[in-house]
């Protein structure tokens, strides 16, 4: 039995359709990440699950219970907010216990759960402090602790790491992941950060304009994005796109653009000749080599260009290339072994078998 299911859920604010026909099941114990830009509807979906917003149409079930019209407190879910939403005038201990006290839970039970959560998160030394006296990471832990003591059926995370600096964010990401695996509680996690989505999620839901774009395991979405939006959204640096057409004149299927010819693997039955298409190449699927000046016929699976910029990241580097005409920028992610100089002419070999092809409507052609 799925732990959470959304059945054709839509949310309209007047004319604005914030969420359209959201249909999804979350498995028991799963960590599901909703990822999308602002206005994608991800937060609204979470708030509808929490009961903070109502659904316009559709139904939401938690376990075998229809919670569509229940108020938040009767849904047995707990939420960690972006700004933590700790009650500023209460101590850490009171912040942890307030939910249970409001439910008039027995004292011993409150005590047990608070010390259990505090133990797991290392909060005991902070018990008598007020939120103002805590660091960002500590506040984050208290917010998680407050959710844990309620022993909910589902955890909800609303961009919990976006107020932290980069180093702490990476650390808390790991903590949240391992905590979730230990507790094995169904979790719905909202973020705009695709790295967070990739590293944390058992499954990812990519959202745009209130609609599901793709659902799947992170690696599957990365390898086989269903459309151009997902392809560009997931992965850093983002996928490179080249516009061109299909050529089947030589008995095989190839992508052609000005000075570029990339042999496409398989027959790509969906692709029709002379249809405008977009070729997607991940930065790590470009192999940069020096040389390759001048015109001549396009070499298969090669982009020729000039180095615009080399970003050294330490372990690896990003090379920005101008592969025009028309002036067109692509990024290659390379190891640091041989780095070209800025302005140098280079060739970039495309790993043709790993390219992605998208039709005029943006959907992937396979």
């Amino acid at each position: 039995m799925p732990s959470v299911s959304f059945e054709h859920v839509s949310k309209h604010f007047g004319e604005a359709r914030v969420v359209e026909e959201f249909d999804l099941e979350v498995a028991d114990g799963e960590l599901l990440v909703l990822v999308g830009g602002s206005g994608s509807g991800k937060s609204t979906i979470l708030r509808m699950l929490a009961g903070l917003e109502s659904v316009t149409t559709g139904a939401i079930r938690i376990g075998d219970r229809d919670v569509t019209t229940l108020p938040p407190r009767e849904r047995n879910v707990a939420m960690v907010f972006q700004d933590y939403a700790l009650y500023p005038h209460m101590t850490v201990r009171d912040n942890l216990s307030v939910g249970l006290r409001l439910k008039s839970a027995p004292k011993a039970e409150i005590e047990r759960r608070v010390s259990w959560a505090a133990g797991m998160l290392g909060l005991e030394p902070l018990f008598d402090r007020k939120p103002k006296q805590l660091s960002g990471g500590q506040r984050q832990r208290v917010a998680m602790g407050r959710a844990m003591v309620r022993e909910p059926l589902v955890f909800l995370f609303d961009e919990p790491l976006s107020n932290l600096d980069a180093g702490l964010r990476a650390q808390m990401r790991i903590e949240i992941g391992s905590l979730q695996r230990r507790l094995n509680t169904t979790t719905v996690y909202v973020t705009h950060d695709q790295v967070e989505a990739m590293t944390l999620g058992d499954r990812i839901v990519v959202l745009a304009d209130g609609r599901i774009q793709q659902v799947g395991r992170p690696v599957d979405i990365y390898r086989a994005p269903i459309n151009r939006f997902v392809a560009g959204f997931i992965g850093t640096p983002p996928m490179n796109f080249l516009s061109g057409t299909i050529d089947q004149s030589q008995g095989t299927t190839a992508f052609i653009a000005d000075g570029v010819r990339v042999q496409l693997p398989g027959n790509r039955a969906a692709a029709r000749p002379s249809e405008p298409v977009t070729l997607g190449i991940r930065p790590e699927d470009l192999i940069v080599e020096p040389g390759g000046e001048g015109g001549g016929p396009p070499l298969p699976d090669v982009l020729r260009g000039r180095v615009l910029l080399v970003e050294r990241l330490g372990g690896s580097s990003h090379i920005h290339l101008d592969v025009g005409p028309p002036p067109h920028r692509v990024v290659a992610a390379v190891s640091n072994d041989v780095l070209p100089d800025v302005g140098a002419s280079v060739t970039a070999h495309v790993r043709a078998e790993r390219t992605h092809l998208f039709g005029a409507d943006g959907s992937a052609l396979r």
Partner: protein
């Protein structure tokens, strides 16, 4: 129940008392004020329809128009005096000072004191024979002035007192404005070699225009509501020279039980206040554009 429905219901439950209050104690009295204009009513017998009698009476009522004239005399003294004193004290306070809090608190002290107390106190200060002010004047050889019993000095005396009572309030307004004059502007104009006066005239004063408009508007509205001071100090005399509009309104309602007429005065006062405030804003606005 759905989240929005809960909000809708709680919102209504929480707002309904206030909405009821506004209807009963704001909307209804405003409408009823307009109804009262066409009624004659002594609160004992049933009200009778009077048509435009109240309005016609008001237009010929020499006492009402004298009260209006008195109020304008009051404003002509009070408003400019209020602007000048408040601005001067605010400029003095807006410097690095020892005991800044003390100075500010002392200027503000009369603001927290009831107008009734201030009136009683100044009654004593203005007293012709034993009053503090005439005592001080005697020290420098000035003969006692019958401040509140001479028709020529009574209203100016009250205007000075009200200015004294309220100046601290307007000082705070000007101080708030002065804080927003960028330090860099002051330094720039100093580098240009401007004198203190030029700096005040071409930088401070124009930048304080919004505060000046506020001070003029508030002190005008406040001035139109003059009541307790003449009520306590002069009873409207001498020769009705300190009779204010509100005092006349109060007398009609309380002493003569003429509710329709009193309400008519109230409506007229509201219209006069509105007209004067709009006019002031126009004039100051044009001055600004020029």
């Amino acid at each position: 129940m759905r989240a929005e429905a809960v909000e809708e219901r709680s919102g209504w439950l929480l707002a309904v008392p206030y909405a009821g209050f506004l209807l009963a104690f704001a909307a209804y009295p405003i409408l009823f004020a307009l109804v009262l204009v066409v009624l004659q009513w002594d609160l004992v017998t049933a009200p009778t329809f009077a048509g435009l009698d109240n309005v016609i009476l008001l237009s010929h009522d020499a006492r009402f128009w004298q009260a209006v004239a008195n109020t304008f005399v009051f404003l002509a003294i009070h408003v400019p005096l209020q602007v000048v004193t408040a601005l001067a004290l605010a400029l003095a306070l807006n410097r690095p000072l020892a005991f800044r809090g003390f100075w500010r608190a002392s200027f503000f002290l009369p603001v927290v004191i009831s107008g009734a107390v201030v009136a009683i106190l100044w009654n004593s200060l203005y007293a012709t024979d034993v009053g503090l002010i005439n005592q001080l004047l005697a020290r420098v050889g000035v003969a006692p002035v019958p401040w509140l019993t001479d028709p020529r000095t009574a209203m100016p005396a009250i205007a000075i007192m009200v200015t004294w009572k309220n100046v601290g309030f307007y000082v705070i307004i000007y101080l708030a404005g002065l804080q927003y004059i960028p330090r860099s502007c002051q330094e720039a104009i100093e580098l240009e070699g401007a004198s203190d006066w030029q700096r005040f005239r071409y930088l401070t004063l124009p930048l304080l225009l919004p505060q000046t408009i506020l001070v003029v508007t508030l002190s005008t509205i406040n001035g139109f509501q003059l009541f307790i001071e003449p009520y306590v100090m002069t009873g409207g005399g001498p020769l009705r020279r300190t009779y204010s509009i509100v005092l006349y309104l109060y007398t009609n309602a309380f002493s003569y039980q003429k509710m329709g007429y009193a309400a008519t005065i109230g409506v007229a006062l509201a219209l006069i206040i509105g007209a004067v405030v709009v006019l002031q804003r126009r004039v100051i606005g044009t001055a600004e554009a020029a």
